[in-house]
Amino acid sequence: MILKGIAASEGIGIGTVRVVITTPKEISTAAPEDTEQEVARFNDALEGFCADTETMAAELEQAASEKEAGILRGHIQLIRDPFVLQQITDEIRKGLNAESATDRILNSVIEMFRATGDQLTMERATDIADIKTRLIMHLQGIEDVDLAKVPAGTVIVTEDLTPSMTVGITKDSVAGIVTASGGYTSHSAILSRALEIPAVLSVQNLLDSVHDGDTVIVDGTEGSVILSPTDEEIEKYTKKAEEFQEMKLRLEAFRGKPSVTGDGELREIVANIGTPADGVIAKDDDAEGVGLLRTEFLYMNRPSAPLEEEQYEAYKKVVQTFGDKPVIIRTLDIGGDKEIPYLNLPKEDNPFLGYRAIRFCLNNHDLFQAQLRALLRASAYGNLRIMIPMITRVEEVREVKKLRDRCIEDLTREGKHFNPDTPIGIMVETPAACMMADRLAAEVDFFSIGTNDLTGYTMCADRGNSQVADLYTAYDPAVLRSIKRICSCAHNAGIPVGMCGEAASDPALIPVLLAFGLDEFSVSHEKVLSTRYNMSLWTRVEADHIARHALARDSAANIKRYLKDKVKRRISR
């Protein structure tokens, strides 16, 4: 039998299942025989919980995960609340068993947190839920599993990886990870990719179908889990695993090489990153710079906006990581699905068509100028470029430039160092910007095509909505025509054009993008080498031919089939 899920971390793993339970058994309603003994049982479980949590926190600290360690220590502080412990004890003395008493009182705390309507307090409710679950599991005698001690060839099967479980997982012992929930960007997925362990997530009915000791194959490239594989299947997948390793080696040959087409035309492959720390990883993965640094990390999970100085230090760090190579930093892109409580943005019926990104920044000059000043000051340390998201009108660009000029005047007066010619560019991700690309190109120093939003806005489809998700595809001729137009407008104006959406690393779209003359491909760091490899497969003449034939078709399905077939034949050549 084959179970399907989300392909979250590439590779093939074959091994023996170890099911890790993260949810308690059903809570019994039986009254305790001796209430004082029940109180003692609760206190024992509480001490066990605190001791285990402290051990995990210490291990996390060892593994340089201070943030996760801090969260776990916070859990100990929270549950050591004398008032709440007294309430639980009172409930037990009134005749509830320890599990039920814990459940009832902590549920009321969760309710109390949620009822405040305060974002930060509501987030803490998930910590209480975490504490409740683990404390009840301690009462039920379900142990926290120490994943550092599993034998080699273990496939971990669980509801979802939690920070406390991730301590001790290594590539040497864990052959694969399969979970019942989580998406491509979940904690489990990020961790699996970082450890290079094949992973399949969000598998339905997982815990009913898989049991301790089962042999399974985890195909993290296709997103499938093969249960009770036959000898032929094991043979087939062992071969596939070898091919995967071979491909990895083949890609290694592209490390440190220039990014060129089959006939030697030079392009650029850079990385999309979310934090300065990612910059170091991207550089290790051979990115030739940064095509998109999202700055939201500076603004999220904190009570107030970051000051100029803190931002300046963060930007400077990334710029210095890359020396003279370009680092494109995008100004604040909040709104849509990204919420920042202290900005007090009103709830909107239609956030993706609402008050977000540059629309917000142009109405909040203090916040925006602090960011522009920090960016300009960091420009003194390398090759920094500023990128503005969510542009729809030419006036927006002019207003941004006016604000930039004011910042430059102020910085000059203050005697601060900066590069006065810091390039300023825009994300082209709205149909309006696409239609106005010729005029916008005259105003800015570069374009970067954000295909994720451009696809959504062009097709009017939310990829998270399964009813319309099939409309959301960059293979649609409407999207490809838009990309082509944006590239031509940029080149007519003599400015470079890049792409920072997922389409830039899609092997089947790469020949089309080469034909359009895309100058810069900004991809997630682990795809730098494969993109360079895929680029090398095509000469300009071949790419032009393929793009012409693709654009002659009028349906996404047809274009996709044609392009996938082309790339498949080329790779097996």
Binding site: G74, Q77, L78, D81, F83, V84, T121, R124, P303
Partner: protein, 88 residues
């Protein structure tokens, strides 16, 4: 029973970390510690209840201590809140 009215001056208010600092300090006193805020009476030794009260920067609160070491408890509570609850 002793009490004092004062204003919360640290930017995070009684959030996770500052509230933890506060309850840890109050735990050593035998007296009951209560914070009156916005019509609520909150147990000053209960981290969960303090967080749920959402006491923000600039809030006017009253600290009430009652018990054998009430004056010492109140003095420390007031000096902690006035000095920003351990926030840098």
């Amino acid at each position: 029973m002793v009490s004092k009215q004062l204003k919360v001056t640290n930017s995070q208010g009684f959030h996770m970390r500052p509230a933890t600092v506060f309850v840890n300090a109050m735990a050593k006193y035998k007296s009951d510690v209560t914070i009156n805020f916005n019509g609520l009476t909150v147990n000053g030794k209960s981290l969960m209840n303090l967080i749920a009260a959402c006491i923000k920067f600039g809030s006017e609160i009253e600290v009430v201590c009652s018990g054998e070491d009430e004056q010492a408890a109140l003095d420390e509570a007031v000096s902690m809140i006035e000095s920003g609850l351990g926030e840098e």
